[in-house]
């Protein structure tokens, strides 16, 4: 490494190696495979009316049973929107990479500009121009590959313009660097920027006009350069905001503490701990996203812009909690486990408190989502996402209950992997999800080529019963080992079984009395519910926690120097 530029480039490569490789592989994969995938179905990506193509292909082959239809729809949706989604995600990733921030281990701040770069004998201008110009070139290159290498259907024009992405890069740099001392404000600003970019295709002619783009670009560049200078010189320390924030949190804690002087039991104290540690944050993020979305739509309608995407936003709101809870459950960063392990708590008590706080958080998030949906319906006058699904109010209630349960489940089911504090094991849920996501189109391609799955669909109930039998066998094994190792007492196991039975009964009642499905779908649905409610995996979570507590001695023990 002879020059500072080479050193910076090497550091960038080291930090983002895996991401860059994934992006390149994705682009190349799309360039090579996408035309073939389109040809399989007869989808013409160059046609100017992509939704029309979509509808046309959907109306073919109507005599496939329901699940095949679902795969068909998913596959076509992938063809229509997949390249676009991949392009947007990869460009966003590149934008983030060129804000050149990293996670600070000491303060656990996820986006911190590495101050050690300022100890190098280079000027701030040097740093800034090297980073920004390489960022602009990368975005230009990536965009060219996506635009001209992959024949994408022209669904959303707004993302096809390169200027938007270049401006987004400098604006993101400006926001991340100038608001470095106000992490919460910065998060809100970044989310707002993303929402504006992604949710306003109707204003595309406004954004593409050079009168808007060029000043924004210049503004972003100047602000980014100034904020880098300010980070270096240590100004804009955020005293005022943190003062207000501390007053706010003090007021909240006073309200909390006014209730009782002390906790009545260790279980209650542990539930409070889990709630404050993460469940409250997840609930807050979900609610804020939902309310912000509706608020920005309300602002749009107030200023006279038509609400084209209101229904899709409604559907997106319905899936947001699932995604967010799932994401939070996969991230293995729990820094307070060493503290918890020295409290006089059994591993099972810790897991129980996590489950309870997640349930509370799921319930509260969904209340806020329903409020947001109601707001959306009021804005939209006649349509609402829930109404689109079914006109029967009972079915809508059943759907919401089902979604609340799925939200809780998605957070809870990964516990047994995440609580081992082992990086490889914690990645397993991600792999499982990837495999599931790839199986769908794979199965559909097989069906298109004539492979019959009748032997599967006709005996669906039999397959479900087999899986349920396996589930109970597995549960039996887990509980037996737990009893032998004294991880769980018989009374705890009985309590878990009773709770499981109650949850299953409640869901079955919801299904039968509220959702009222078709008779031939009833049995598979009931069996599906029995399969979905996690039983063994909660016991397994206690195992993983106990393993992490007693056997590994902590995640740092094996790799760093031990004492």
């Amino acid at each position: 490494m002879n020059t500072p530029t080479a050193a910076l480039a090497w550091e960038f490569w080291q930090r983002h190696r895996r991401r860059l490789i994934i992006i390149v592989v994705t682009v190349v994969g799309f360039i090579c495979l996408y035309p073939k995938m389109c040809a399989v179905v007869g989808f013409n990506p160059d046609s100017s009316d992509a939704p029309g193509e979509f509808a046309r292909l959907l109306s073919l082959d109507l005599n496939h049973p329901m699940p095949i239809r679902m795969f068909q729809v998913l596959y076509l949706m992938f063809l229509v929107g997949g390249p676009l989604l991949a392009m947007v995600l990869s460009l966003l990733c590149v934008v983030w990479m060129f804000t050149f921030t990293e996670t600070d281990l000491a303060t656990k701040n996820p986006m911190v500009f590495p101050v050690r770069l300022f100890t190098l004998p280079v000027s701030t201008s040097f740093l800034f121009w090297r980073i920004t110009i390489s960022g602009l070139i990368s975005i230009l290159g990536l965009w060219t590959l996506w635009k001209y290498g992959v024949h994408q259907p022209e669904t959303f024009k707004i993302f096809q313009g390169c200027y938007v992405w270049l401006t987004l890069l400098v604006l993101a740099q400006a926001i991340v660097w100038s608001l470095a001392a106000w992490p919460f404000t910065r998060m809100l600003a970044v989310l707002t920027l993303l929402l504006l970019v992604l949710v306003l295709p109707s204003g595309s002619n406004v954004l593409e006009s050079p009168l808007v783009m060029i000043p924004l670009f210049l503004l972003g560049t100047v602000l980014a350069r100034l904020s880098l200078q300010k980070i270096r010189q240590g100004e804009w320390q955020g005293r005022i905001w943190s003062l207000w924030l501390s007053r706010f949190s003090h007021w909240i804690t006073r309200a909390e503490l006014r209730g009782s002087r002390q906790f009545s039991s260790p279980a209650q104290a542990q539930l409070w701990f889990e709630w404050r540690r993460s469940a409250a944050r997840v609930c807050l993020i979900t609610s804020t996203l939902a309310l912000l979305t509706v608020a920005s739509l309300a602002a749009c309608s107030f200023f006279g812009y038509p609400l084209i995407l209101a229904n899709s936003i409604g559907f997106a709101l319905l899936t947001t909690p699932l995604v967010i809870f799932g994401l939070f459950s996969i991230s293995p960063t729990r820094s307070d486990l060493p503290f918890m392990f020295t409290r006089p708590l059994t591993s099972n008590a810790i897991v129980t408190s996590i489950l309870q706080s997640t349930a509370l958080s799921a319930l509260l998030s969904w209340i806020m989502i329903l409020v947001a949906l109601a707001g959306l319906a009021w804005l939209n006058d006649d349509h609402s996402a829930l109404q689109e699904i079914s006109s029967l109010p009972a079915r809508r209630v059943a759907l919401v209950i089902g979604l609340i349960f799925l939200t809780w489940r998605s957070a809870v089911v990964n516990l047994s992997f995440v609580l081992t504090e082992n990086r490889q094991v914690s990645q397993v849920p991600v792999w499982i999800l990837t495999v599931l996501w790839l199986t769908g189109p794979g199965v559909f391609i097989l069906v298109q080529n004539g492979v019959q799955f009748g032997w599967f669909w006709n005996h669906l109930s039999v397959w479900a019963l087999t899986l349920i039998a396996l589930k109970f066998l597995f549960t039996f094994q887990v509980y037996r080992t737990a009893l032998k190792r004294r991880l769980l007492t018989p009374s705890t196991i009985t309590r878990q079984l009773i709770i499981w039975i109650l949850i299953v009964a409640a869901l079955l009642a919801t299904l039968i009395f509220l959702a009222k499905p078709d008779p031939d779908a009833l049995i598979p649905a009931c069996l599906g519910i029995i399969l979905l409610v996690p039983l063994a995996r909660t016991g397994l979570a206690s195992f993983s926690l106990a393993w992490s507590r007693h056997a590994s001695g902590g995640p740092t023990t094996r790799w760093s120097e031990f004492k």
Binding site: A269, S335, D336, F339, F341, R343, H550, A551, G553, E561
Partner: protein
Amino acid sequence: MNSASHAIEINGLNRKFGAKLALKQVSLQVPRGRVFGLVGGNGAGKTTLIKHLLGRLTPEQGSVRVFGFDPVTDPVAVLSRMGYLSENRDLPAWMRVDELIRYTAAFYPGWDAAYAENLRRQFNLDNRTKIKALSRGENAKTGLLIALAYRPELLLLDEPSSGLDPVVRRDILEAIIRTVADEGRTVFFSSHLLEEVERVADDIAMMFNGKVVLTGPLDQVKASHHRLILRFDSAPPSPPQVPGVLSLTGSGREWTAICNGGRDEAVAAAARVGARVMAEESPSLDEIFVAWAGFKTE
């Protein structure tokens, strides 16, 4: 199974990390009502041993018992009798001081709220500060507060004074003394600040490379080591070898030897290599430690 005669009993403990043996056949008995100091350099295995006491590591060979309970199978029984101050200060960063006190109080029936409040005022800790905003010393004091407030039978400290200023170190020493002055309560702490160990420890154990090289009451340990000032008739050309001696330092004609036990044999051996004993003193714990560190034990 109630309180045994010893607070901590470790027998034949072995621990491997990968290929390296971190603990080699460690055996210790910590009697109740006394202060036990574990002394060793960095990498000697002190923290690994303490992790076994907390139940964070399962013994591969050997056994660990705290008040007769196994920390791995009975974590609640052990941890409810123990107050632990870790070197890493693992307190949850997002909590405030009063929330931490309130949370910890729920787990220990013997929690004395008035005593906790006294300690808080004495340590000058503001109730509303977040733990991540505390300085290093205040962090240590907060950890000490929640470990002391329920008067645990065993106070376990892992390098409590590391990186702290003298004022906070005094607070920690006072806490150790106060604990053991209450009848029957025990303190176990690991440190490499030997001056502090000399002040407050009743018994010590010294560890090097995962082995316990000596253990016993502090005054016995000190009494069994001697520092001999040797004067050679002529300056030896290469560093002299005196068998039976732990370490030999010096230059020219005067050398300082530290020996363990067999003082008469050491004097005789010195005479054989042509040296006279000029003076004989009692070494400090520091010198004993450095002598053992240089001595190749295998």
